[in-house]
Symmetry: C2
DNA sequence: CCTGTTAGTTACATAATGCAACTAACAAAA
DNA sequence: TTTTGTTAGTTGCATTATGTAACTAACAGG
């Protein structure tokens, strides 16, 4: 019976099954990652990606586990959550052979700051110190993914909050892509994407100058990326 | 000690850890997947994606496991192998909570046919019957991935073999994308990609007409995708 | 040496993109 | 009240990218 064979393998050398989350935000025009202080060994009290074991009893799948862990470690459910990649192997965890299914999440920075969950720190992705496990590699993969997707999708909209001006959204795109964009081209592309609607009568006054029109995601795109035929 | 806690969880309900592979080829201008007859329960003797348990003792990581399983089930090591996505949960496998880290691989169809490994069948991805586990979903995800990547990368080159003509390569792209392409635009894009070099003096004669120049991947791109700034 | 067929190129029309300069709307200073 | 500085948002045009049709090239076979 193969079931028995599998149980034997599992008992001889169980594979550690976890979920980690790269929660990204934009702060001061820079792409930042949210780190959580570990409460257990290994690497207790060090900052690392929020993560935890898969609970086969409670979690129906990995997304369930990711949502549960995010709630636990950050107190919020980000508007965007997607599977990034799985990191696995014998060398990445001192406890033994491990699998980490990694998700990446985007959220408005203000939501994290106002939730003020204990044990969290924000760090710019291009100024990270050495992190436990292979978390530096994981973050690098997340940054690469967000760069690619920002080129041809509405992804960075999830970093801008409920309502936002086009200049603010452009800053989000620029922080994701790591380069400045042409204002006219950017606005044309947002028009082409067609995921935004104006918040009528609402403007953002941010100094001694013309106020900016506020926009929000159309409800049909709250849970769905839109792709461009040709990138930005 | 958290190590003990994890061992307890693993023994109470061990999570089944496997690797599956979506091996794609082009046959008769159609995108096809390679299926392997299962030799064990569950679903013994049914066709399914080639896959197997992770061997924590032998495999250093999941890529190792994918290569080992591919060698076992198909007898070859494809020129392109990339992690696709992880499928996990309580419902996908009758044995219990399972994780399958899925890779997708591309290879020239002739290599599979000439290897003639036992137990393999080729099936067009748009004419699949109901497969075991969630393998239909997995293949759908692989097709979506190859479609996306073919739009702006050299990915389909790995389907064309060692040397190939541009008309043949265009067929590969068209099969991946599911649409016909403009000849002039396609050749311009291949020029822009810059991953090909002519095989001097070598042409492909395929009937009563002008023979086609043969090309191959430049050696520096044998193991590395090249991306276009703007897609095809 | 004509014919049919596919390979590969050229010239040009059309569409997408980038840039510079413009107007609009505000606060604060004069 | 007017002026000034600053950012929001638009317009027109030059440049670049893309798609199309029509061309030439090179072969096999009759």
């Amino acid at each position: 019976m193969p079931q028995v064979a599998q149980l034997n393998i599992a008992m001889l050398e169980p594979i550690i099954s976890t979920v980690d989350i790269v929660l990204l935000i934009i702060q001061e025009d820079r792409l930042c990652v949210t780190l959580s202080k570990r409460d257990k060994e290994p690497y207790a009290n060090q900052e690392a990606l929020p993560g935890g074991y898969i609970h086969a009893q409670d979690d129906r799948d990995c997304l369930d586990a990711a949502v549960r862990i995010l709630q636990q470690k950050t107190g919020l459910l980000p508007p965007y959550l997607e599977q990034l990649k799985t990191f696995a192997g014998a060398a990445r965890d001192p406890r033994g052979w491990s699998i980490s299914v990694v998700y990446f999440a985007l959220v408005d920075a203000d939501l994290i700051l106002s939730a003020n969950h204990p044990g969290l720190t924000i760090c710019a992705v291009d100024a990270l110190r050495r992190l436990p496990f292979d978390h530096n590699d994981i973050i690098a993969a997340a940054v690469e993914r967000i760069r690619n997707k920002s080129q041809y999708s509405s992804l960075p909209c999830y970093l801008a909050g409920e309502t936002f001006s086009l200049p603010r959204l452009q800053k989000m795109y620029e922080a994701c892509l790591g380069e400045t964009l042409n204002k006219v081209s950017f606005r044309r592309k947002m028009e082409e994407l067609g995921v935004l609607e104006t918040v009528e009568g609402q403007t953002e006054t941010a100094g001694a100058h013309r106020p900016a029109q506020l926009y929000r995601l159309k409800s049909e795109f709250k849970n769905q990326l839109k792709l461009l035929v040709r990138g930005l």
